[in-house]
Amino acid sequence: MRLWQLQRMDDLAAPRRSSFGLSLLVALGWYATAVGAIVVGRSGVPAAPDRYCPGFFGCLTPLEQLALFAIVGAPLIAGLLAYTAAATALLARWIPSPILAGSLSALSGVLAVAMATAVWNAAA
């Protein structure tokens, strides 16, 4: 630790960084919460019994849609996880709380996906 980083004496005892593993767990917890809430919320909405369902993917339940997305969107998910790991590693160096570091990392991951989708839509 360099001298200019010593803001207080107890900085020696408590380093101003947080555990990478815990921060990553917090970030993954955010993704799990969001996905779980969307599936639970959509599963609770009753659909009309006489829907027109042409083709194989006509009428999927929310869980089936999630499974389909996990297969089709695998590159996107892998990219998000890689981005999250990198962002978490960076944030955990500067933020002493794993909860804050992981939450900010997940938030930036969602923003990154939103920006990537916007760029993709603009290009297509």
Binding site: W30, A37, V40, P46, P49, I99, L100
Partner: protein, 135 residues
């Protein structure tokens, strides 16, 4: 032990409140297929319960957390719960923004139902148009 309990309480707020809010807002913005008026009222009541639980937990958990962490003399968790009050304000602002964007109230809304309108089985006199026999 005390630390684990405070950590569990904090995680319940951190993940539980957004979870309930997302579930409630998805239900609130969906157009469910509900055969009867009673079903529609039950669906609306469940949605209200989820949203009210989210808002109540959003306020109650950080406040009780600050108190408990202070009593337990855990400066780390006292700091976290104190900062989570800022999250409480952010969530309240987000919910009121969603409330302002919706045309109907966020809580206390009953979705449309598919119940057929009961047929008119008696003569209704219309002023200037139709009279009824015997009346």
């Amino acid at each position: 032990m005390r630390r684990a309990a405070l950590c569990a309480l904090f995680l319940a707020w951190l993940y539980g409140v957004p979870f309930l809010l997302i579930v409630g807002l998805i239900r609130r913005t969906s157009s469910p297929h509900l055969a009867t008026r009673a079903e529609a009222q039950a669906f609306g009541a469940t949605t209200d319960a989820v949203l009210i639980a989210a808002l109540a937990l959003n306020l109650a958990v950080p406040l009780s957390g600050v108190l408990l962490a202070r009593l337990a003399r855990e400066p780390y968790w006292t700091r976290h719960f104190a900062w989570s009050l800022a999250g409480t304000v952010l969530i309240c602002l987000a919910v009121s923004a969603a409330d302002a964007a919706a045309t109907a109230p966020l809580i206390g809304y009953t979705p449309a139902d598919q119940e057929p309108v009961p047929p008119v089985d008696h003569c209704v006199p219309i002023s200037g148009g139709r009279g009824c026999p015997g009346g």
